[in-house]
Amino acid sequence: MLLRVIIIGLGLGFFALTFPVSAQAPGQPPDTMAARVEACTPCHGNQGQGTSDVYFPRLAGKPAGYLYNQLLAFKNGRRKYPPMNYLLEYLGDPYLQEMADYFAEQRPPLPAPAANDVSKEVLQHGQTLVGRGDPARQIPACGSCHGPGLTGMEPGIPGLLGLRPNYISSQLGAWRYGTRTAKSPDCMQQVAARLTEADVTAVAAYLANRPAPVAIAPAPKGAYVLPFACGSEPD
């Protein structure tokens, strides 16, 4: 009896493999988001895990609200990167939300910590800024907004892990120089403006050097109170 069940089960499994169940019409692309976002994958990876290019960020597992805000900012030209501006210019907002949801749901493992060539002192400085900030210069700890595990918070605050130092420092630089902006009050612009070049190098090196935590999902909305108002994370 049991054997028969197993044989039937195997038989069904075989058929399931041979004739994959899908809504796909003959000669049509798969009706999936994975197929629809293939244009994203040469730079961001099949699951949004990132690629070997150190300037292209990981998207997987970032809060959908954050990803949606970025897609809108690229579409409207507020965030400037011509290859992204060009791709998104004529796509509808609900579709951008679907793209954001898709990458937010992906959970490929975080990459191994990036090798770095900075000194112990620089890493130490990065650790201090990330973990405690610098109250004298009104620099909050990264973790006070991006979460104790630096995995971000729903809906609008991104995790900071799995990114390369080049990407982190280029984005912090863009905030400092005002070429990357967000909804007012633009909290990251305020924070980045207080950082020196040396701070940016140290923070980028330290963050990229963090090992993956056990749980990589962002914290739920309202899990902790932000130290100041932020347009990207409305109350």
Binding site: P29, A39, G77, E89, Y90
Partner: protein, 414 residues
């Protein structure tokens, strides 16, 4: 002279201006005006990114400097709030401001001149009904001597013929409606005609295709079947392309994606079909010889094409098919696709480098995208794969060089 025109204008004003359009005209005039403003794609230029609708201020780079579009909201101080219906018709029909000043031909009055007085009045009634925005027009930033507006007189002499569309009685109403939309409000000729050094299009070259200045996209000929001439397309495929951005024969990207997104998708099926009927009819029989000549030595091009097949099989065939058959409408066919075979390879190279999404439309709200390969392929590989798709499966395009591919890496994307 100018002041005389002004006085004359003032005298005529009470006769022609009529009462306030919004108060007096029925709502359906405004609705019809909104529809026609869509057909004219006014929003594409007269609204800045993240700006207020129709408040202008969009930068429009031209070979002569940067123009900034104007505020066409009914604000009395900074918009067209003081204009009359007649002023607006004059602007559309003659390319002149109410004071007689000359408009730069970036405003497609050479096409809009064909719009009827009734349609112009409807568009004006609509523009009068939208919320006024107080936003001053930005000064144009044109290089000398182009900053001298009197030069426009020369342009007008060469390239502008004033006059409403005259229906061709030997053709059907549908054909005439299509011609009216394509040649008038649609202002298709602004891109789909060769732009000469003087920034104009001569009548005999209408719809013969051209490289769009500053954008470096090639707007294919609408009359030549080896480009985007639609002579051997079905009416349904043409209408699908205009309305949804995708079709069994091809997909729109780049500047044409903008047109479908902001304008054509909103047209009624009757109007889209009328445009299709007209566009199909203006295709000329193929007279030019096949573009088989190439600047590349034969051995070099055959090496390129064999590398191209390797790249194609690895990168492209999974969507576009081993024989270039695609999975239309979402993954366009490459075999027998005019946009790939045409003399200018600019669009094909750009698509390989930068990828692209067709526009999101009501008929195709979740388009499939083409991945950008700029970071994955060398200039040589890009040239190879484009040469391959231009010559495989019976396609009759010419191979392209790595230099052509390289040159297009640095052109502005949007």
């Amino acid at each position: 002279m100018l002041s005389r025109a002004r006085i004359l204008g003032l005298l005529l004003l009470p006769l022609l201006a009529g009462p306030d359009a919004r108060a007096q005209q029925p709502g359906d005039l405004v609705n019809r005006g909104e529809y026609l403003a869509r057909a004219g794609d006014c929003i594409a230029c007269h609204t800045a990114p993240e700006g207020r609708t129709f408040a202008g201020g969009r930068a429009m780079p031209t070979p002569f400097g940067t123009l900034y579009s104007s505020n066409i909201t009914p604000d009395r101080e900074t918009g067209i709030g003081k204009w009359t219906t007649e002023d607006f018709y004059k602007a559309m029909h003659t390319g002149r401001f109410p004071d007689g000043g000359l408009m730069y031909p970036a405003m497609p009055f050479a096409s809009y001149t064909k719009v009827t007085q009734a349609d112009s009045a409807a568009i004006f009634a609509y523009l009068k009904s939208i919320p006024p925005v107080n936003q001053r027009n930005r000064e144009h930033d044109l290089r000398f001597p182009y900053s001298n507006r009197q030069l426009i007189l020369g342009w007008r002499t060469l390239f502008f013929t004033e006059g409403e569309y005259k229906p061709d009685p030997s053709k059907s109403d549908e054909w005439n409606r299509g011609a009216y939309l394509v040649e008038g409000l649609g202002h298709c000729g602004m891109c789909h005609s060769p732009i000469n050094a003087l920034g104009g299009t001569s009548q005999s070259d209408a719809f013969k295709g051209g490289l769009i200045p500053m954008q470096n996209w090639y707007a294919p000929s609408l009359t030549f079947n080896r480009e985007a001439g639609l002579g051997d397309w079905s009416l349904k495929d043409i209408a699908d392309l205009l309305k949804t951005g995708v079709s069994a024969r091809g997909v729109v990207y780049g500047p044409m994606a903008e047109v479908v997104h902001n304008s054509l998708q909103y047209l009624t099926d009757e109007d889209t079909n009328a445009m299709a009927v007209y566009l199909k009819s203006i295709a000329e029989p193929t007279t030019r010889p096949a573009a088989s000549s190439t600047a590349l030595p034969t051995t070099e091009s055959s090496l390129l094409i064999s590398l191209g097949k390797t790249v194609y099989d690895a990168r492209c065939a999974s969507c576009h098919g081993a024989q270039g058959e695609g999975q239309p409408p979402h993954w366009p066919p490459l075999a027998n696709n005019q946009s790939i075979e045409m003399e200018s390879a600019v669009n094909a190279i750009r698509m390989v480098l930068n990828g692209g999404y067709p526009p999101g439309t009501e008929g195709n709200p979740r388009p499939y995208g083409m991945p950008p390969f700029a970071g994955l392929l060398s200039d040589n590989e890009v040239a190879a794969v484009v040469s391959y798709i231009r010559t495989a499966w019976g396609n009759r395009g010419a191979p392209v060089s790595a230099r052509e591919a390289n040159e297009l890496r640095s052109v502005p994307l949007n």
